[in-house]
């Protein structure tokens, strides 16, 4: 019951969504629409699982009087502020609303800046870790250097052949290798999807009975 019915449901929905592409009948299309809506609903609820987990984690930190619980208050305050601005303010979805301003001036700068830290780390890694120890590593670094120069205007200035070499690298060896990887990964994705639908792959059910 606890495993058989979910496996059966997985097969029914998976098989239907796989074969509906090949049945051009309006009743199948109608059912496809319904199921797509169901999948969207499930995804929406699944996404919000993260929010519940977040509240749980920080609540426990506060309750257990962890050393850094002050920051948990900050996180929960941010969460409640946005929920309050979104649910209480009548026009939260309009530009210029407090909800929108908080997003654009708090979330956007912080998130964008966090990812921009990677620029510093990649420069540090370039200096400390990128070593041409083997032929393959040398090949990688040479190709990277050509592409890095070719994709900025200064590459044109250094030598007119650099942008041409960059374009060749992207559209010949890069294309061939990425295509090979794409085909391999595509076959793997298909195999995994089939295994899930047919119930061979059951890791999504988790442990227990």
């Amino acid at each position: 019951m606890r495993r058989q019915i979910p496996l059966a449901l997985c097969f029914i929905f998976g098989a239907f969504m796989a074969i509906q592409y090949f049945i051009p009948h309006h009743s199948v299309a109608d059912m496809q629409e319904r199921i797509l809506m169901w999948l969207q609903t499930l995804l929406a609820f699944a996404f919000l699982l993260g929010t519940v987990s977040l509240i749980k984690v920080h609540y426990h930190k506060i309750r257990n009087r962890a050393d850094d619980r002050a920051y948990s208050y900050v996180a929960l305050a941010g969460l409640l502020t946005m929920i309050g601005l979104g649910f209480i303010h009548p026009d939260h979805n309009l530009p210029g609303s407090p909800f929108s301003l908080m997003f654009l001036n708090v979330q956007v700068p912080i998130e964008a800046t966090m990812f921009s830290l990677l620029a510093f780390y990649i420069a540090s890694a370039a200096f400390r870790a990128f070593r041409a120890r083997t032929l393959e590593a040398t090949l990688l670094l040479v190709a990277a250097a050509i592409v890095m120069l070719g994709r900025v205007p200064i590459g044109d200035l250094i030598h007119e052949g650099i942008p041409d070499a960059t374009r060749w690298i992207l559209e010949v060896p890069n294309l061939a290798s990425k295509r090979g990887v794409m085909i391999g990964v595509g076959l793997g994705m298909m195999a995994t999807a089939l295994k899930i639908v047919l119930g061979i792959e059951r890791a999504w059910m988790g442990g227990g009975d």
Binding site: M37, L48, I110, A143, I169, P173, G180
Partner: protein, 278 residues
């Protein structure tokens, strides 16, 4: 008012950048703030853009868009069932009844898995194989020059490798090594000239041959059912060369991408906040 909001954004930006010196309370504050704010933002967006109009409103307010719907009617059930399934996902937080969430997960996982089988096969496998089934003769080759240069470099590298490593020439002194390099360069250049003659004749497209060989080599490299020895090993080795060049291109682009993110933030600080640049 705009300047106040921009200043808040700028100060939060600088708080994050303070981490580059060392971890500090300003960074931690900004980090935790964004975690809470983004979670709240996504919750509101998901609720008002999808959950309210497609689940809450039909089930509790008996309205689908502007149209009223009937209680226990078809549309009511079509809104209730996925809503209940969605709520069942939250049973994972209660270990004794967590197994109930499998029903919802089954629909979700099975549905999305089945949805992707055909398009992925078509887009990633069939179309790519079709695109790489190239004519190697009698077609124009826009990359002929660069392909010949590339192959000339490969010839140089192979000759240098064979002479230095395999034949151990030039091992005694630097002058010997330089002589070997010069000889290899001459052979590589000669190879380039020969390939140019072949390209100019328009008989074969060396670029298309490279694309086909590259794809076969890459696929061979990932084929682990047979040992990579002999011809198969040689082809896998060719595949490694193509993969390394591809990864090098990806690495170059990755550096470009990360730098762009930094440029964006500096632009925000200098232009939007401090108005120091146009």
């Amino acid at each position: 008012m705009t300047f106040i909001w921009t200043t808040i954004g700028a100060l939060l930006t600088l708080s994050i950048y303070s981490f580059l010196y060392k971890d500090n309370p300003f960074y931690k504050f900004a980090e935790h703030l964004v975690v809470g704010v983004s979670a709240g933002y996504y919750l509101v967006i998901y609720y008002f853009n999808f959950i309210h109009p497609n689940v809450f409103s039909p089930v509790f307010l008996l309205r689908l868009g502007d149209e009223p719907i009937s209680f226990f009617g078809f549309h009511w059930w079509m809104a209730l069932i996925p809503g209940v399934l969605g709520i069942l996902l939250y049973t994972r937080f209660f270990p004794k009844v967590a197994w109930v969430g499998r029903y919802a997960l089954a629909v979700y996982v099975g549905g999305y898995a089945g949805l992707g089988i055909s398009p992925v096969m078509q887009a990633r496998v069939i179309e790519q194989l079709r695109a790489n089934a190239l004519s190697v003769a009698g077609v124009e080759d826009p990359f002929a020059t660069m392909t010949n240069v590339g192959l000339g470099v490969v010839i140089f590298a192979v000759v240098a490798y064979l002479l230095i490593v395999k034949r151990n020439l030039g091992a005694r002194n630097w002058l010997g090594k330089v002589a070997v390099i010069v000889v290899s360069a001459v052979v590589g250049y000669a190879g380039y000239l020969v390939l140019t003659l072949i390209s100019n004749a328009g008989v074969v497209s060396l670029t298309n041959i490279l694309l086909v060989v590259g794809l076969l080599g890459t696929l061979t490299y990932f084929f682990f059912s047979m040992k990579h020895t002999g011809a198969l090993g040689g082809l896998a080795r060719v595949g490694i060369v193509f993969l390394m060049v591809g990864f090098g291109a990806s690495f170059g682009y990755t550096v470009m991408s990360r730098i762009s993110l930094l440029i964006g933030r500096v632009s925000f600080l200098l232009h939007d906040w401090l108005h120091l640049i146009d």
